[in-house]
Amino acid sequence: MPKESTQESQSTLLEQTVRDTGVFRCLECGKCTAICPISRYDHHFSPRRTVGRALMRHDEALLTDDRLWTCLTCLHCTQVCPAGVAYSDLTLGVRTEARRLGTATVCMHGEAIHAWMRLMMDPALKQNRLSWLTSSLPQAPHSELEASSSELSVFPEGDLRSSRGPRKSVPHLETRNDSDTLYFVGCAPYYGTLFEPLGVDGDGIARSTVQILNALGVKPQVLPDERCCGHDLLWEGDVQGFRTLAGLNAALIRKSGAKRIVTSCPECARALKVDYPAYGIRLDTEVVHLAQLLTYSEWPRPNNNGASHHRQPTLRITYHDPCRLGRHMGLYDPPRQVLERLGLELIEMQRHRHNALCCGTNGWTHCTIANKAIQVDRLCEARATGAELLVAACIKCQIHLKCALQDRLLGHKIAIEVKDLATLVAERMTEGIQAEPGIFG
């Protein structure tokens, strides 16, 4: 029993965190700091020092350091720690306390992302988030100014997303309200809107996923009132926000009667599979990532007898392990098996699988030059493989790498095409199957 603290009662949460995360076991060996990608570029950040502060109960320093919010929670340090200190969980605990005390930093991108996540906490909110399901729609006018010059007659209500060009016709997507399988979409439509200038097609990932599921003989449920899974709010210390979102999602999921949830986002997968039960939120369903589903499902035969797989040119690709899919959930093989099945030539980056370098993302707070340096490092590593395409299995990885690719001063030094796994699979798997533009039934 730790001796009676002279601090206020609000510090007992820190005591709890310190106990639960095994901070006392720290050997001060420094392996965590050695492997930490942020520490490499930002000498003011050190996992070992954070652990030290927690041990010595230097609460003020711990709770008020800006850099508390820079940690990527990529789990690399936890993985190499010989003493079993759960560093990322320590970060989560300290952030929770810091947020409660009012020292949290603000969300990036003008606070847009946390704002929409928090707006989703309203139980009365009725989103209009499924327009990606319908097939090709006329391009909506960009603004009132351009409306008059638009030749389009159809103006679907609520669908004011600007897009770079006319939408490609999408294949026929099928869903069923009573399906055993539920496709948890996540914030892809929102990310696609905010990061459209970066060339991130969130809608495309969602469509590709349903396309793949359909091709596997599954017509999934899709929830019109789905909320953000709460992953980011949780890791940024907003446990209450997470619980609210999780509660709303859980009610919808239980009501849906689904037995299995499929998601194409590793963060949603982790949240639904690991964090919801950890916080006592029952889903009564299995949770799988799309890559897992693909590895144990039967793929459709190619339409033509000419074996479409072989007709497609072999593409040299490299694969970026997302932290949440990789180190957090141990899913290194399923995406690789999928890529192999597609007949692609996979060239691994130097740091891959459990050693993969994080893409430099965190929960949307405190993005600095260190994050950029990490992204540049990762992109250089990708280019060094000689691959033509970098496959990312997480929309946030894609966003962050594409953000770094925008830097016109670095330009050709880091340029490489980046594509989501779902998009790539849908393209190659359904080659030869006619795309049918039409309104979904």
């Binding site: 609000q10 929409w116 209009n128 603004s143 809107t193 340096a373």
Partner: protein, 594 residues
């Protein structure tokens, strides 16, 4: 990062570095009875006293009178006030006056805010005294919150080098040079040809011949013929100019110099406080010079005058002028006329001795900037340069001497020249990581205002809370005009004034909805009339994004609108706001409680 601690118990807090809140004084003006006949002035003073940071609140019939200003100055000194909020009439007419008073009392003039409760609150709602007072109450509280969150910045100063450079030895250039030299200002004149005269060469113009004689013999004029400007560095007040000059003898074997049969070398021409461009009719060299000097060119290549009427108030005189056919085609008489005018302006600028940049300017936090260059794209005034990090001056990186990220090859840092920055905030709006801030319009300040406008303590639970973001030059001006014309519109609006609508990013709007705004109206300038060149374009782009996000969220479209309002149309403003509030009330979702 400042740390604000919320203390739950009486025990001493864990943190020791609580930031001392600034001492704020609130001065409510009765404006004769213009305000006091409608608003409960005593009530406003009383409520102000309970606002965080306010240690003084008082009212007077006219704070702008000589008596009033004396009292203001005395109170600032006596109470050691660090921020001032005056609740009275228009900042557009009276802010400068009060700023002078504040300066006399030893206060940084930027630390004074003036919120309009006359045209802003009393007159448009003169039929509803209670609602008008409620609005005034909130607007004052918003301004107090805005000023409390303001981090003061010292004005940036630069010395002006008392030397002038004239580029171009035609009639215009020579005239300007002579004017300046005759007034005692040392002048350097650069001409790319081997003789003076420009287009007057080989004509019978006596004017050109006489001028050439003067220029060649004047003791205060340094002449460089066969010279071209190659580089201009430095900033306002001190431009360092490099030129190519012919060398006096051949250097090296002729075979290595095939492209330049007349051997030239680069040399430093000097440092100048003013540059006059008189390069004549546009050609390819005009374009490169325009780029060096960050001067816009029109479609034919001429260098137009900056739109003086549209320049924002805190625009710093750059000391760069254009005259003669480089400006637009003109004959000898017109060229001379322009040259006299420009020389006079340049002289005035050079004799000032220094330039001062007051007011809001953008600053980059070096550890946050990831070198993406979005700010460079967004800046209408070319105030941004991207420096290579490892070699960026230490004072800009803000990091330990010599420190740079490992493998930082190619990583850049945005550097913003405070003398060129006009504080429009477009860079703030586009920066993905919040590395750029404009003191005076930070997110913290705007959110502090939003919090007051939309917060629970605003005691009008039954009416929907409408937020109006109004650009100084259009919507805000129109709002004051509407008030002056005694046009009424619904009083449950809360107005936040911005220098430029381009300051707004999608996240701020979403945050306002998160805080409980029932409706948000953004008022900006029409594209061609934006005082910051491209601010309204930025506003439109941000609006598109947030519109798409709110559509996904299922928020009714009538709850968010972007409108162009001319500053001189009071009725249009009143109508627009009335329509908008109606639209919101129709689509009203229950307001979110925090």
């Amino acid at each position: 990062m400042t740390v604000k601690w919320k203390r739950k118990t009486q025990d001493p807090p864990i943190a020791t570095h609580v930031e001392k809140p600034a001492r704020i004084g609130v001065f409510v003006c009765e404006c004769g009875c213009g305000v006091s006949s409608i608003l409960d002035v005593e009530g406003l003073v009383e409520s102000s006293k309970s606002l965080p940071g306010v240690i003084y609140a008082g009212h007077a019939p006219y704070w702008c009178s000589a008596d009033g200003r004396e009292r203001l100055e005395a109170t600032i000194r006596a109470d050691g006030l660090e921020r001032i909020v005056i609740a009275g009439c228009s900042p557009r007419t009276h802010k400068q006056l009060f700023q002078e008073t504040a300066a006399k009392a030893g206060l940084n003039p930027d630390l004074l805010g003036l919120i309009n409760i006359r045209e802003g609150c009393a007159w448009p709602h003169e039929g509803e005294h209670k609602a008008a007072t409620l609005r005034a109450n909130d607007q004052i509280a918003m301004e107090v919150a805005h000023m409390a969150a303001l981090a003061p910045r010292s004005p940036v100063e630069a010395q002006i080098t008392p030397r002038a450079l004239v580029i171009g030895g035609g009639v215009a250039g020579m005239t300007a040079a002579q004017e300046l030299a005759d007034s005692g200002m040392p002048v350097t004149l650069i001409e790319r040809a081997s003789i003076l005269g420009g287009r007057a060469v080989n004509t019978t113009s006596e004017v050109a011949a006489d001028l050439a004689t003067v220029v060649q013999t004047h003791p205060s004029i340094t002449l460089h013929l066969d010279s071209l400007v190659t580089q201009i560095t430095g900033s306002v007040g001190a431009y360092h100019v490099d030129i190519t000059q012919p060398t006096s003898r051949c250097q090296g074997p002729a075979s290595t110099e095939q492209h330049e049969p007349d051997h030239t070398q680069r040399t430093t021409c000097g440092t100048f406080g003013a540059i006059i461009v008189a390069t004549g009719a546009p050609d390819e060299e005009t374009a490169s010079l325009a780029q060096l000097l960050r001067l816009p060119q029109d479609t034919k290549g001429f260098l137009p005058e900056t739109r003086v009427r549209l320049r924002p108030g805190n625009h710093v005189e750059r000391g760069i002028h254009v005259c003669g056919s480089a400006h637009y085609p003109c004959d000898t008489a017109e060229a001379q006329f322009q040259a006299y005018s420009v020389a006079s302006r340049a002289l005035r600028h050079l004799r000032k001795g220094r330039v001062t940049a007051h007011g809001p300017v953008a600053e980059v936090a070096p550890e946050k900037c990831n070198g993406c260059g979005d700010c460079l794209n967004a800046c209408p005034f070319a105030a941004v340069t991207m420096a290579n990090r490892p070699s960026a001056p230490h004072r800009f990186t803000g990091l330990a001497e010599g420190w740079s990220p490992v493998k930082a090859e190619g990583l850049s840092l945005s550097i913003i020249d405070p003398l060129l920055c006009t504080g429009c905030g477009n860079c703030v709006s586009v920066c993905p990581v919040g590395a750029v801030t404009v003191a005076g319009w930070t997110d913290a300040q705007l959110e502090a205002q939003m919090h007051v406008a939309l917060g629970q303590h605003s005691a009008q639970e039954s009416l929907p809370r409408i937020l109006i973001f109004a650009c100084e030059w259009s919507g805000y001006a129109a709002s004051e005009l509407a008030g002056a014309q005694r046009l009424s519109y619904p009083p449950n609006v809360r107005l936040i004034r911005l220098d430029c609508s381009g300051r707004l990013q999608p996240g701020l709007i979403l945050k306002a909805f998160e805080m409980g705004a029932a409706g948000i109206l953004i008022l900006g300038c029409a594209h061609k009339l934006c005082h910051y060149e491209r601010g309204s374009e930025r506003a439109a782009a941000a609006y598109e994004q947030v519109k798409a996000l709110t559509a996904l969220l299922g928020l009714p479209p009538t709850r968010l609108q972007l409108a162009w309002t001319p500053p001189d149309d009071g009725p249009a403003f009143a109508e627009l706001v009335t329509e908008f509030v109606r639209g919101v009330e129709k689509a009203r979702a229950p307001a979110r409680s925090e």
